[in-house]
Symmetry: C2
Subunit: 289 residues, 2 copies
């Protein structure tokens, strides 16, 4: 299966390398062409002149771009260039609506579409250990296995088109609430003068624990928040959750509170730090301490 | 060490049984005297006529009562009856201030005090697997080991008087934030029509996961919330967190939001269900669905 890769950013570039390692990569394309040329030279594949040129040359295309509009634009070009029986795997994090629309547009030309947002960050993309949450047709999911297995480790079909994005959105809501919990609790513990490392060790084994408590409360204890999951990116994902909830007429308190906090953090220049930097806002609640 | 037990409720009664099994239990006292008589008969120990009578007869006393005022009242009686060199271990969940006050009152008479709130619920109290978060003097903590080991498994000295309560309060803030996360995410996932059991399985392995997600999201998937950690009790603990934060001039968003939710749940008659019943309020955000 000749596979093309569109979007060679922090996630897409290592994913392209893993497709190459699996013997699948045929061509790459990127909005900033110089990135595509450099990676094509590195990997010994072709840098397509356009999305359409890539679509014409490939059987399957993996997409990893930033926003809903980017996905729509790429899908329009692929609908006009991939042959019937082609396959598009979109690993971008966008709304479930965009995924369903993409599936409709491509399906009209006999092209399969899977929404396959990932989690696991840049490290997961490099190590091919991403968690992949897929939405789409079971037969298409079956066909996509060689590609998905080249990119990730935990691969689950969650339902029809959009279900992958809805699952990813659910995960991002979980992350928002948990980081609120951990940041607020740690700021309280610090104000109370507790020994923070011992606290993490003790409560990390209990019912209040979470992945974020075990792995990110230490960042708070040390007051350093090196980029892991950037505030800016989680904010983008939570805006998607906001929109998806709004379609149900719902406004979600954890999502809204966290978005407000993130706006403040971005204004303060913390947009590219790990989301555990929320600790700073919680600490500020305790005044000058 | 002749040990007395004050407070024979859902937690205190099984703790008394474990003290008996360790050969430590000498006398029991309870506000409702009939409970004390029944348990004393069952265990073959004495039912003290008063707190003072218990204090006079014992070297050490374990306390497990409901509220700050109860602890203050019990401590006043024990200060007047325990001999110099006595030891009081308070397993109630109250404010760090109450713990520090108790330590001062008892310390004046040469009696050691440890604040030792526990977590692990009624099951942990029965199985003697409680987590015990202690505050007080290291020498007193050392002396208390036979008693603490009879009651729990994870036993940590967190600092001077009040540090045990502050650690417990930190844990209760964690629980509040995490249950907010899990309930909101699960309500969203349900509204999106995702397969909830598969979702729990998939996201439970990821960075958004938590003890509550793995153990309580299934309650939400099934719409049943059998008593585990009761709304009413967590609300009581969060009011302590509210007061402790207020002493620092802080108001904590997760604590306040959860207290407001719990007031609503209690009004709706859900006060004795597990805190995962918060899912009902989150579901209601999605309208009639």
């Amino acid at each position: 299966m000749k596979t093309g890769m569109i979007g060679l950013g922090a996630m897409g570039a290592p994913m392209a390398r893993n497709l190459k390692a699996a013997g699948l990569l045929h061509a790459v394309w990127n909005r900033t062409g110089s990135k595509a040329t450099a990676l094509a030279t590195e990997l010994g594949c072709s840098a397509a002149a356009s999305i359409r040129a890539l679509g014409t040359a490939c059987d399957a295309v993996v997409v990893c771009v930033s926003a809903d509009d980017d996905v729509r634009a790429v899908v329009a070009e692929l609908a006009a260039s991939l042959r019937r029986g082609g396959l598009v795997i979109d690993c971008s994090t966008v709304s479930a609506d965009t995924a369903r629309e993409a599936a409709r547009v491509l399906g009209g030309g006999g092209i399969d579409f899977l929404d396959c947002p990932v989690s696991g960050g840049v490290e997961g993309a490099r190590a091919a250990t991403l968690a992949i949450m897929a939405g789409g047709d079971p037969a298409a999911f079956e066909r996509a296995q060689p590609i998905l297995k080249a990119l990730g480790r935990t691969i689950a079909l969650m339902g029809p088109s959009g279900a992958g994005q809805a699952t990813k959105a659910t995960n991002q809501i979980l992350c928002a609430g948990v980081i609120q919990a951990v940041a607020e609790a740690m700021a309280f513990a610090k104000a109370e003068g507790l020994p923070l490392e011992q606290l993490i060790d003790t409560l990390g084994k209990g019912a209040g624990s979470s992945w974020y408590f075990v792995h990110r409360a230490p960042y708070m204890a040390h007051g350093e928040f090196p980029a892991g999951f950037r505030v800016r990116l989680h904010a983008k994902d939570l805006r998607i959750c906001h929109s998806m909830a709004a379609r149900h007429g719902a406004e979600l308190p954890v999502v809204e509170a966290t978005l407000a906090n993130y706006r403040e953090l971005v204004e303060q220049g913390h947009g590219d730090e790990d989301i555990s930097v929320l600790f700073r806002l919680k600490e500020a609640l305790f005044g000058a301490k």
